[in-house]
């Protein structure tokens, strides 16, 4: 891999340069939290953010998206053109870059989803290093380091960023818009120091040992009933999850009843009717069965199909759950045989 050193003083130059050709999205402050939002001015970009409320998935899989329009009078159906503006996602943490690659597996293999594909191709991904907080556990799922899936990745080494170049596009962008310098031995030593400090800074212990096996072996464990009792089926965990991709497809008719549209919207396996079929049959009618399914799919289902578990340890679901059903609690209960 090729590397450069980018002075922190020069980051605004890069943002302004990018803004001439791309819509730049990055972490910005919202009250005392952060969100990914369009960057109107380089000073808004907060590369020192801890986490964002919502993951960056909406820039690839919008929370609502029209698939087609139809005219009920003359029975015509028109496909919706795919809009994929040139865009930069500036400041994804390693977990979110991993999450994007997991989404890629779903939407770009088998039947390719052309909406996702177009947006992914049109989007430059710039990662940035982070400092884990008390809910982070990317280390448990090998998502703390990332070596592909980005155009460039910025590791904070003090006054400057140690830039890993992940693509031709990333290298060209950096050359075009901003002044950088070559990496020297001292920079490498700094990079090693911050990387070591990162690895040693996790406070949460999530033990992923043999989790895929435990999902089957403890399928009927009483812990699922206990978590089911607590779950409100609000779906917050899926909405904030960078790897939850499930969607619903619904038709909407215009007020005059003459035309309409088919849209897909984010959905959650935690909602009551998610697995319901006709004649009143619901394959996951209880909250316990739905909580279990979410973990089962992430830790075993996705692994079986795509060779990696569907969790990057970002901790957003832990922060969002109103009743404290956190991965650390659930996985801890599975490992220890009881809800702690």
């Amino acid at each position: 891999m090729l590397f450069r050193i980018l002075s922190k003083d020069h980051v605004p130059d890069l943002v302004r340069g990018l803004a001439t050709e791309y819509e730049v999205i990055g972490p910005v402050a919202k009250e005392d939290k952060f969100v990914f939002a369009p960057i109107a001015d380089a000073s808004q970009l907060r590369l020192d953010y801890d986490t964002t409320l919502l993951p960056p998935k909406r820039w690839f899989l919008p929370n609502e998206e029209r698939l087609l329009k139809f005219d009920l009078a003359d029975e015509t159906v028109t496909g919706e053109g795919i809009v994929a503006p040139p865009r930069v996602l500036f400041g994804l943490h390693a977990c979110d870059v991993h999450a994007l690659q997991l989404m890629d597996k779903v939407f770009l293999t088998g039947t390719v989803d052309p909406y996702y594909e177009a947006r992914r191709a049109a989007t430059v991904v710039i990662g940035v290093s982070c400092i884990p907080d008390g809910e982070c556990f990317c280390n448990a799922f090998d998502a703390g380091e990332v070596h592909r899936g980005f155009d460039m990745f910025l590791t904070d080494i003090g006054d400057s960023y140690y830039v890993s170049l992940g693509s031709v596009r990333g290298a060209e962008i950096l050359d075009r818009y901003v002044e950088t310098s070559q990496v020297d031995a001292e920079d490498v030593a700094k990079f090693q120091r911050v990387s070591r400090a990162f690895v040693e800074s996790f406070s949460l212990d999530v033990d992923a040992t043999q989790l895929p096996v435990l999902m089957d072996a403890k399928y009927d464990d009483p812990i699922w009933e206990e978590f089911g009792e607590k779950c409100l089926s609000c779906g917050a965990c899926s909405i904030v999850c960078p790897t939850c991709y499930c969607f619903d497809v619904v038709d909407r008719i215009s007020p005059d009843g003459k035309s309409g549209e088919r849209v897909r919207t984010w959905d959650s396996c935690q909602f009551k009717d998610f697995a319901a079929v006709a004649h009143g049959q619901n394959f996951r009618g209880t909250r316990a069965s739905r909580v279990r399914y979410r973990y089962y799919h992430k830790q075993l289902g996705h692994l079986t199909k795509y060779k990696r578990v569907l969790c990057v340890g970002c901790g957003r679901c832990a922060r969002a759950c109103p009743t404290g059903i956190t991965p650390a609690a659930v996985i801890g209960a599975l490992q220890k045989g009881a809800v702690q």
Binding site: F70, E75, V77, T78, P114, F247, D251, A278, F283, Y296
Partner: protein, 286 residues
């Protein structure tokens, strides 16, 4: 395209874009179920539309939505597909209100069907309960079309009562054929019923199965699978020669939307037909 098929053809640019199909025939089968024959309007699409027994399509009623429906006709019947549909939801209800000549949308076919080629050369035991006959009907018709390729063919079909027996006219005629051993049963007989009475599992006392040479296929209400499989296992049939077809909420049909998750797999792309060995490994499937 011939002149009278003037429908508006869509470009089908994305995997979610349905083709338009005309309803060419509607047959009332029971009070709740109708058999719809559909013809895809675009001639190129129609000619290239091939499927396996056990696969399904996503049926579109524009303004109402989409629903997965298994195909009941045989792959050998070209140019048309038949759907046996119960009026049980928004989309199926809207379909039931359609007339012959009306246009609906469809896309597919999706999923993995029955292993027809693998089944050739073997005896066949098909067990259906209620509307579960719908996907099996495709397989039955396909076997019928290539009857010489198979050994004995036994069909056990259970319904709640005589008025709910689907395809009854055809099955009444088949009762006298010696190349299909067709046994119908109902839970609640009436004075017109001269067939068997009781659950479909009861019929296993009446049949001989050569376990070394038999493929089984099952489709019915969720509660039925366990008991039918038990009977098949009592007949010493192998777990990987028993096939089951599952109904789930396939919404996108292409393994993206997540609604049809069954165990660690998706019914839409990994199923809806699974071998019993596979199904045993799907938590919560049976």
């Amino acid at each position: 395209m011939s002149g009278h098929e003037e429908g508006h053809v869509c470009s089908c640019a994305t995997p979610y874009h349905p083709w338009q199909a005309r309803i060419t025939s509607i047959i009332d089968l029971t009070e709740k179920e109708k058999l719809f024959e559909l013809r895809i309007i675009d001639a190129d699409v129609r000619e290239n539309f091939t499927f396996d027994s056990g696969q399904f399509i996503e049926l579109s009623l524009f303004g109402v939505g989409e629903a997965p429906v298994s195909i009941s006709s045989a792959p050998s019947k070209q140019g048309f597909i038949e759907l046996c549909v119960r009026n049980s939801g928004d989309v199926t209800g809207a379909l039931h209100r359609k007339q012959c000549g009306d246009v609906v949308g469809l896309r597919g076919p999706y999923g993995r069907g029955f292993p027809f080629e693998e089944m050739k050369g073997h005896d066949i035991l098909l067990v259906a309960g209620g509307l579960g006959i719908a996907p099996l009907k495709s397989l039955i018709n396909h076997i019928h079309d290539e009857r010489h390729e198979f050994g004995t063919v036994t069909i056990l079909y259970g319904s709640r009562n005589p008025s709910e027996v689907l395809f009854r006219q055809q099955f009444d005629m088949w009762k006298h054929r010696d190349d299909f051993n067709l046994i119908l049963t109902v839970d609640q007989p009436d004075e017109t019923w001269d067939g068997e009475v009781g659950l479909v599992t009861k019929l296993f006392d009446r049949i001989d199965v050569n376990p070394d040479n038999t493929y089984g296929a099952i489709c019915g209400p969720p509660v039925m699978y366990k008991y039918v499989i038990e009977e098949m296992r009592k007949k010493q049939m192998d777990v990987d020669r028993i096939y089951v077809s599952f109904e789930r909420r396939m919404k996108c049909g292409v393994g993206k939307c997540g609604h049809c998750g069954v165990g660690h797999q998706y019914a839409c792309t990994d199923g809806p037909v699974f071998s019993y060995w596979e199904a045993m490994n799907l938590q919560g499937a049976i």
